[in-house]
């Protein structure tokens, strides 16, 4: 510990000149510790004054609601009654087997899987591909463009692209040579893939840019050295580029998964005409059960389930990241 470190705790300028050992010898260990403890306490209150707005707002508006939400999920609260009745785990027990929940859970699982695979695969592919294309920047900008739009606006555009007399059907009609009118957003088997495609359409640009940033940060020397030693570009990619890029890829994947299956705006706006809108994902189902049907306790339980899925994904991320850190070190 530097001598100046102690002086910051208010011991005084004269003391500053001494080394730690000299100071300890002069006033004794326990006294040094007492001074330090007192300084630490005083510092804590100083720091707390700076942290207090953040702590008050975060605890009051984010953490308290989480605690209350968990509590609500164990009550029988529905419409205007039942908040004081303890229901145990019955809200959770009612979830599996409920056709709406099963469907919503199934669709959420599809969202998780799709948002692991597609944004990463397509974004990564585009980044690598567009690096070698003349005027690649124009294409990069075009692909990044949707990212600037709000999801609600993107959803409005794509709602009409998928409409029975919309863009997609008219393009398919031109290709097929006869009129096509598929209700992409009204059929059980097309609505989720269609909305996922919109999500991917919007999020791929960011993945691409982040991968490009990661690629540009890779030092040129090892690449050159490997080439001179006769490595093929496949080998260079596999053994040098991939390991250096892996941390970026892990972060990007997790980000798109979390934003993917908790998405509300796209499903709420694009699914507006779909009869089974509530089953589109757990996020929509939770909103539907609580704010449209007044099944507050049940809705809280769904929110907790979403939280558990989020925690599992975050946990997988932590494990993967530490693995990646070990590999690249």
């Amino acid at each position: 510990m530097e001598a100046t470190h102690i002086s910051r705790f208010g011991v005084g300028d004269k003391v500053k000149q001494e080394t730690d050992i000299q100071l300890m010898e002069r006033i004794g260990w326990h006294q040094v510790k007492a001074v330090e403890d007192r300084a630490m306490r005083r510092n804590f209150w100083k720091a707390f004054a700076f942290m207090s707005p953040a702590i008050v707002l975060v605890c009051g508006l984010l953490l308290m609601p989480v605690v209350y939400n968990i509590y609500f999920s164990f009550t029988k609260w529905k419409k205007f009654a039942g908040l004081d009745e303890f229901a145990g785990l019955s809200n959770y027990a009612k979830l599996p087997g409920n056709p709406y929940f099963d469907e919503a859970f199934y669709n959420t699982a599809i969202w998780v899987a799709a948002s692991v695979v597609f944004p990463l695969a397509i974004g990564f592919g585009l980044a690598v591909f567009l690096r070698g294309v003349p005027m690649g920047n124009i294409f990069k900008n075009i692909i990044f463009l949707p990212r600037i739009l709000a999801p609600t606006a993107v959803a409005v555009i794509w709602f009409h692209v998928y409409a029975p007399h919309g863009v997609l059907n008219s393009l398919l009609g031109m290709a097929a040579g006869r009129p096509v009118d598929i209700g992409w957003l009204y059929q059980d088997n097309t609505v989720t893939p269609a909305i996922i495609a919109t999500f991917v359409w919007q999020s791929v640009g960011l993945v691409m840019v982040l991968v490009l940033l990661g690629l540009s940060a890779i030092p040129k020397d090892p690449l050159e050295a490997a080439r001179i030693d006769g490595a093929t570009s496949g080998q260079v990619f596999r053994h040098i580029v991939m390991p250096l890029l892996l941390p970026t890829l892990v972060v990007v994947t997790i980000l798109s998964v979390l934003s993917g299956f908790t998405t509300f705006d796209l499903l709420w706006v694009m699914g507006v005409g779909y009869p089974g809108q509530r089953t589109l994902s757990l996020a929509v189902y939770m909103y539907f059960e609580s704010f449209q049907k007044g099944a507050w306790a049940f809705g809280s339980a769904i929110a907790v389930i979403i939280g558990i899925v989020v925690f599992s994904v975050t946990w997988i991320q932590t494990v993967m990241q530490s693995r990646v850190d070990k590999m690249t070190r």
């Binding site: 953040a54 975060v58 609500f72 294309v133 919309g166 359409w201 960011l206 704010f291 989020v310």
Partner: protein, 294 residues
């Protein structure tokens, strides 16, 4: 002089190699152009649709060029008035500007306390604030809705600002704390020696040094608030507090009255401010993305 001597560079050879490589790349240019159509077509579709009247839209192919440019004025006026977009834009601008600014300022204060003042269990307090980012938004909705009703701030500007400020704090705390940890403590130690108060050190030394990451996180949080639909649906669902995205969603939801041409015009109007902001401050957005990966 030896160190300065550079190897002979054969510019002609480099140029030749480059030329060969671009020539080889022409097919990939065509592929890139085809692939990017997936991104161009929806924008093109939006661009032509806002210039069409409703009968014109239904009569023609959605991708056909408009007959004239004048319908956009009627479309814009009609969307603006029906969706009450003026009110929505003003509300969202207020939520975004004030909410994000307050959040980043409070985050900078917290980051100062966490990185510049030594005390025990710093990590606990950091994790307490940062834990605001690990929960899905759905878990806040029901308790907030009822707490807001009880306190009487549901459907008020104050209630909306309060929540937006709170939810935008944790992430900037992470970014700014990491940034401050990498910043030398010499300057603030010197100021403290000269008798500056902690607040003075924060205000005159730390804040001016944090402008870069603060701008980046401010833009990020502003965009988040601007784009938010979920919380403005639950906590601010009244005409005079409604955010722009909520107005857009409601307008779009009543698509029996709003034809595609109108709801696409509304979508464009709702997006324009964020697009303009992005184009003006592109560098800061990109910096924010680089730092945060968002």
């Amino acid at each position: 002089m030896m160190a300065l001597a550079t190897p002979q560079i054969d510019f002609a050879a480099i140029e030749a190699r480059e030329r060969v490589s671009t020539k080889k790349k022409w097919p990939s240019l065509i592929v890139a152009a085809l692939v990017s159509m997936i991104w161009v077509v929806p924008f093109y579709y939006m661009a032509v649709s806002i210039f069409k009247t409703h009968p014109e839209y239904t009569a023609n192919n959605p991708l056909s060029l408009p007959e004239g440019l004048s319908p956009i004025i009627d479309n814009a006026i009609s969307a603006w008035n029906t969706a009450k977009m003026g009110m929505g834009l003003a509300n969202s601008a207020m939520y975004g500007l004030i909410g994000a600014a307050l959040a980043v300022f409070f985050a900078a204060m917290a980051a100062y306390g966490l990185s510049r003042i030594d005390f025990k269990r710093q990590n606990f307090w950091f994790m307490l604030i940062f834990s605001g980012t690990i929960f899905p938004f759905q878990i806040y909705l029901i308790p907030l809705f009822f707490a807001y009703q009880k306190v009487g701030i549901i459907n008020t500007h104050f209630g909306m600002l309060l929540f937006y400020t709170a939810v935008c704090i944790p992430f900037p705390v992470l970014v700014l704390r990491n940034y401050l940890n990498g910043l030398s403590r010499e300057m603030d130690e010197a100021a403290r020696m000269d008798g500056a108060s902690e607040f003075r050190v924060f205000w005159s030394i730390i804040l001016p040094n944090c402008i870069g990451p603060m701008t980046a996180t401010f833009l990020l949080q502003f965009t988040w608030i601007w784009n938010d639909l979920l919380f403005s649906t639950v906590l601010g669902n009244r005409d005079d507090v409604r955010s722009i995205m909520n107005s857009l969603q409601i307008f779009h939801g009543s698509y029996t009255t709003a034809g595609p041409n109108l709801s696409l015009t509304a979508a464009l109007i709702a997006s324009l401010p964020a697009i303009v902001l992005f184009l003006l401050l592109r560098r800061h957005f990109m910096e924010g993305m680089r730092v945060t990966g968002l």
